[in-house]
């Protein structure tokens, strides 16, 4: 298990290759990458987090996924600070012997990470800055698990 919370950019491709090579007994690797969408108006995004709690919360979520599915490995990287359009915000990767577990676990990690890890996004446009509101559907997504 590899959990990282950092301000620095990361190379998603290099992380995928490293992750896939680490456990040769995994037949299936799923990744999710979240990017700052370039929708024209956005200047940059600011991600605030709760330093004392973040790594702990991510570790708990990853442990839950590992307890529930037959996984060989889990990776979570989440950035904070100032991010520009097109930049990677975060990434999860799951490795398993079979594809169903790898898919379900990555999907689960994203749902939990979205609503249970202490990050808050603020979008800065030409008109000012606005905190991103949590969606009811994000909270509802947790009921799937």
């Amino acid at each position: 298990m590899d959990i990282r919370v950092q301000a620095e950019p990361f190379d998603a491709g290099a992380e995928l290759n490293r992750f896939a090579a680490r456990r040769g007994d995994s037949g299936a690797v799923v990744t999710f990458s979240g990017l700052v969408r370039d929708d024209g108006g956005l200047r940059h995004m600011e991600i605030e987090h709760y330093p004392g709690m973040t790594a702990k919360a991510l570790t708990e979520i990853a442990e839950r996924a590992q307890a529930r599915w037959d996984l060989r490995d889990v990776l979570v990287i989440h950035r904070h600070g100032k991010l520009r359009p097109g930049e990677q915000i975060m990434m999860v990767a799951t490795a398993g012997a079979h594809r169903a577990a790898a898919f379900a676990a990555a999907d689960f990690l994203m749902d939990y990470l979205k609503s249970r890890a202490p990050f808050w996004k603020k979008e800065v446009t030409g008109d000012g800055a606005e905190w991103v509101a949590a969606k009811d559907t994000d909270e509802a997504a947790l009921d799937r698990w």
Partner: protein
Amino acid sequence: MTLDVLYFAWLRERIGLPRERVETDAATVADLVAELTAREDRYAVAFQDLKALRVAVDQELTDFDAPLGTAREVAFFPPMTGG
């Protein structure tokens, strides 16, 4: 007891500070919120709608009716928007 009370995101902006030390005898999170709310308008405004807020005691998510016990750190914030 002495608590570190932390605020994040728009709650931090409305209250105007990221953390403070609070002397309190509050038995629960809700008691602590009542004490803060009684202090000044900016707290009352910030804590107006508890349904729009989340709380962590000693870095674990919990409910507003949770006991504070021997807690050392209480954090208030809006629903998280990671990922």
